[in-house]
């Protein structure tokens, strides 16, 4: 089922949680709402689920107006951040809940409920936990039960609020892949909220980057990563590997003749910087401050003037360079992204070609 969001706005007191949000989610797509906490992503998800009512705008399900539908009637599966499993019910009863509360006419027989629940538990690979209680499960297991419970009512839309937020890294990675597979098998539309860009980029078909109640960019993971629409997206999608170069100072140095240059900011990812031990044309001089080998990459901190520049090198490259703290080096960016007013953009790009 497709979801359309038209001009949704929501305020809590004087705090604007959502401001004129427009978003189309075609059937079968897995969409990530990505942004820092307080950006409005969870509120948007809850509005889609019917748990929060918008002040303005409308929500359409499969082209039909759904803004006034009660949460109960929307046929959405909602997975809560902290799972919200019914703590006094066994895993089996948790999953069976949605079937048991159906009106008598539609309610499946006990045998059918049993079959369906065990199927779902099989799907999430936890059928051996049917008699346990939520408190006896690990976080990842709780999460999968919450998912099975949401799927039991055969929702047309699956909504997940920070589905992996409370899990540790290893489980999180595994569940991510698993969610992707599950989504593809179920042929439903799914929306999940996350503040983890890696998660969004890995799992989603499309990523909606949000900030301060607005959508900053909508696009495929590749689009938003390699072609960010705003400085915010650029910085937010950088993960720890991001290095945002506040190059103003450096700028003035190089592109002194460009009068407008001071108002622009350029962004360079740390892995897009080349280092050489010898002076090179149009490269900037710096001093190596620290060298941190971190797993497969080596992070190098350079001091350029008063500014710290972060660079990420592959292990091979680092071995070839053999950097030590205190060494003078020359670096130059391979790829630069500049945001600013139109005039500045042109000149800045020119300037940074070195």
């Amino acid at each position: 089922m497709s979801i359309e969001i038209r001009g949704i706005g929501k305020q809590f007191g004087s705090f604007v949680a959502l401001d004129d949000i427009h978003l189309d989610i075609p059937t079968g797509e897995l969409v990530a709402l990505l942004g820092p906490s307080g950006c409005g992503k969870t509120t948007l998800l809850r509005i889609i689920a019917g748990m929060e009512s918008p002040d303005r705008g409308e929500v359409l399900f499969a082209g039909a107006e759904a803004t006034h539908l009660h949460a109960r009637e929307r046929n959405v599966g909602f997975v809560f951040q902290h799972y919200a499993l019914f703590r006094h019910m066994s895993v089996f009863e948790n999953v069976a809940f949605g079937l048991r509360v159906k009106p008598r006419k539609e309610r499946p027989s006990e045998a059918e409920i049993r079959k369906r629940v065990m199927e779902l538990l099989g799907l999430v690979q936890l059928d051996w936990l049917a008699d346990r209680y939520p408190s006896q499960l690990s976080g990842g297991q709780r999460q999968r039960i919450a998912l099975a419970r949401a799927l039991a009512v055969e929702p047309k839309v699956l909504l997940l609020d920070e589905p992996f937020g409370a899990l540790d890294t290893k489980v999180r990675k595994e569940l991510r892949r698993w969610l992707r597979r599950l989504h593809d098998e179920m042929h439903i539309s799914s929306v999940f909220v996350t503040h983890d860009q890696e998660e969004a980029l890995e799992v989603a078909d499309r990523v909606v980057v949000m900030n301060h109640g607005r959508i900053e960019q909508i696009g495929t993971p590749d689009e938003v990563y390699s072609n960010p629409a705003s400085p915010f997206v650029y910085e937010f999608l950088g993960n720890v590997n991001v290095f945002h170069s506040r190059v103003q100072g450096k700028w003035a140095e190089i592109g002194r003749e460009e009068a407008e240059a001071e108002t622009t900011t350029a962004f360079v990812r740390p892995h897009d910087i080349e280092i050489s031990r010898h002076p090179a044309e149009s490269a900037l001089e710096a001093v190596v401050q620290h060298v941190h080998p971190i797993g497969p990459v080596v992070r190098v901190e350079l001091l350029h003037g008063a500014e710290i520049v972060e660079v990420e090198l592959s292990r091979e490259r680092h071995e070839a360079l053999n950097l030590l703290a205190g060494q003078p080096v020359w670096f130059r960016p391979r790829q630069v992204k500049v945001f600013g007013d139109a005039v500045a953009k042109e000149s800045a790009k020119q300037a940074f070609l070195f």
Binding site: M51, E52, S53, P54, D55, T67, H68, L69, H70, A71
Partner: protein, 285 residues
Amino acid sequence: MSAPHSPPRVLPGLGLGLGYALVYLSLIVLIPLGALILKSSELGLHGILDIATGERALAALRVTFGASLAAAAINGVFGLIVAWMLVRYDFPGKRLVDSLVDLPFALPTAVAGITLATLYAGNGWIGRWLEPLGLKVAYTPLGIVVALTFIGLPFVVRTLQPVIEDIEPEVEEAAATLGASRWQTFVRILFPAIFPALLTGFSLAFARALGEYGSVIFIAGNLPLVSEITPLLIISKLEQYDLLGATALAVVMLAISFVLLLAINLLQWWAANRHRGSVVEGARP
């Protein structure tokens, strides 16, 4: 609030729940208390004060306040010791003793009253040891203090226990590593942490004692001007069909209760927020 045609709230029952709560609150609590205010308005402020400052009424208030304060103070001291002991020390039968602390909540006040009166009477288990020492407890104001101490005890202990439990041992260990003696640690670190709760427990015990009737009347002797408490004076005015007199005293008691309730709420608010202000400010973006 919400747009004119928004979907209903997700969770049902606000109207039903709040509606019932408000109607019931009004019927059982607010309207009856309103009747008291209404009746007292027949007297006016002057009339109320005239009755409340009559010789017998004033003496009763003095006895009530004095005994309540004394009992709350006793509970403050011993309640602190009991709470400390129950949280920090181990001894056989601790769980039993811990449950027993709630006895004054569970035991009907009349039972407490006749029992204490019997215990502290001249031939009672305790009275027979105290009387030769010249200490008459039963049928004197001292008896009132005993009864009020009994009923107020759990308030202090139960308010203090969770607070003492919440003190992190690391804090005390830090004090110890900085060279503080155990006594210095208690005075400078622990007591300030406990103090608001102690004050709250004291006020709760005090508030409860002011209105107490059942446990007191059996042991008090109820001599006008000497050992007559205000609640009893209200009843004796009622029995003489002096409805206005009873109302006046009741309004005074009610006003005092309100002030105390307010003070306790403020106290708890203060205890919860006293170290928080600056942090909250700093955390704001």
